[in-house]
């Protein structure tokens, strides 16, 4: 008989020594807040959607629009905006669908997979935002410089390079922020999922 089987015998005996909670204590626990990572991933994801949409609204309220109308590129600008909002709505729909699919009664592997997929949707959303932001930011800068009298004397490439640098710093900061927030939330989950996955290879 190996060690684990000896333990198995003892395992059954330990029941009498186990702690016992009264119904009253269990009632109290039901009122407590969950600290589940799914809950946190949900909250952080909602905040992300709010943040990016807020940023969108904020920049469109700023006087930026006037310059665009002046420059006759409002068709381009509107197209960019429409694509952006359509994609955001798409992401939100997928996110809620995936979130609904999370069931604690699934087997452990499927449960973890679904949580990670939900998480991935938001990650894709964020990267879409960053890349889309980067492209439109550079494009708009280019068009603005080309069209505005004040910038005629400035070397356009130097200006673009500076803008590009600023953009990289901005993206770097966002990336760092994500590593911290989600690394913290999903490290354990990801590790355990990998464990089950490599098992079935």
């Amino acid at each position: 008989m190996d060690g684990l089987d000896i333990l198995k015998k003892d395992w059954k005996k330990q029941e009498e020594h186990l702690p016992k909670f009264e119904a009253k204590e269990i009632y109290a626990m039901l009122k407590k807040k969950s600290s589940s990572i799914v809950k946190w991933i949900f909250i952080v994801s909602i905040l992300e959607f709010v943040f990016w949409i807020g940023l969108e609204v904020f920049t469109s309220v700023q006087g930026y629009n006037d310059i665009i109308v002046d420059m006759d590129i409002d068709v381009l600008y509107n197209t960019i905006m429409i694509i952006n909002y359509a994609v955001i709505l798409g992401f939100i729909a997928i996110f809620f669908y995936n979130y609904q699919q999370i069931r604690i009664t699934d087997n452990a592997k499927r449960l973890m997979k679904k949580i990670l997929i939900t998480r991935k949707t938001v990650k894709c959303y964020v990267w879409f935002n960053i890349i889309y932001f980067a492209i439109t930011f550079m494009l708009m800068n280019f068009l603005v410089i080309q069209n505005m009298e004040e910038f005629q004397n400035v070397n356009i490439w130097i200006f673009m390079a500076i803008m590009f640098g600023i953009m990289l710093i901005f993206i770097g900061l966002i990336w760092l922020f994500y590593r911290l927030v989600y690394g913290f939330l999903t490290r354990k989950l990801y590790k355990n999922y990998k464990q089950l996955q490599t098992l079935d290879l």
Partner: protein
């Protein structure tokens, strides 16, 4: 939520709470952590309870939700309270039943289990609970063959840990 449902749930959990305590015993160290994990499992069970149809046994359903909470949803609290006494009763073995070597081995075995990763702990837990490989494989979502292979590896690992000490 429905008062009647709540009452029914609390009663069922109260009767079956040993399952949850045993999971806490494997996954949590110290009284505070034990209670914390127990509480999170209780919340998750309660959240899932309205969907519990009664087509499975309550205890079987509990294994799933409780283990999933321990492996997947639960984030360990940072605060570490040292409460040795709490864990001691895990090794409470009546002296007349075992000789010293066996008792020592059991202690070491519990310690070795604590060193395992979350998935291995789940395997050990289900094994100790006398679950067969079909149940183990459906609970974790791996094939039965792999559950067996993995279980043998865990046993070997535990044996090694014991022989080193």
């Amino acid at each position: 939520m429905n008062k009647k449902l709540e009452k029914e749930f609390v009663k069922k959990l109260e009767t079956n709470q040993n399952i949850v305590h045993k999971i806490c015993r494997i996954y949590a160290t110290g009284e505070a952590a034990h209670k914390d994990l127990f509480q999170e499992i209780t919340i998750q069970l309660w959240k899932a309870y309205p969907k519990f149809r009664g087509d499975a046994k309550f205890s079987t359903w509990m294994y799933r939700v409780a283990l999933n909470t321990a492996i997947t949803l639960y984030r360990k609290q940072k605060k570490k309270v040292q409460t040795q006494d709490w864990d001691q009763y895990a090794f409470k073995i009546k002296a007349e039943e075992y000789d010293d070597t066996t008792e020592q081995n059991l202690k070491l075995m519990y310690q070795a289990i604590k060193e395992l990763n979350d998935i291995d702990k789940a395997l050990v837990f289900l094994y100790l609970e006398d679950k067969n490989y079909t149940e183990i494989s459906t609970t974790l979502g791996i094939s039965e063959v792999n559950a067996r292979v993995k279980m043998n590896r865990v046993k070997k690992k535990l044996k090694e840990l014991l022989s080193i000490d």
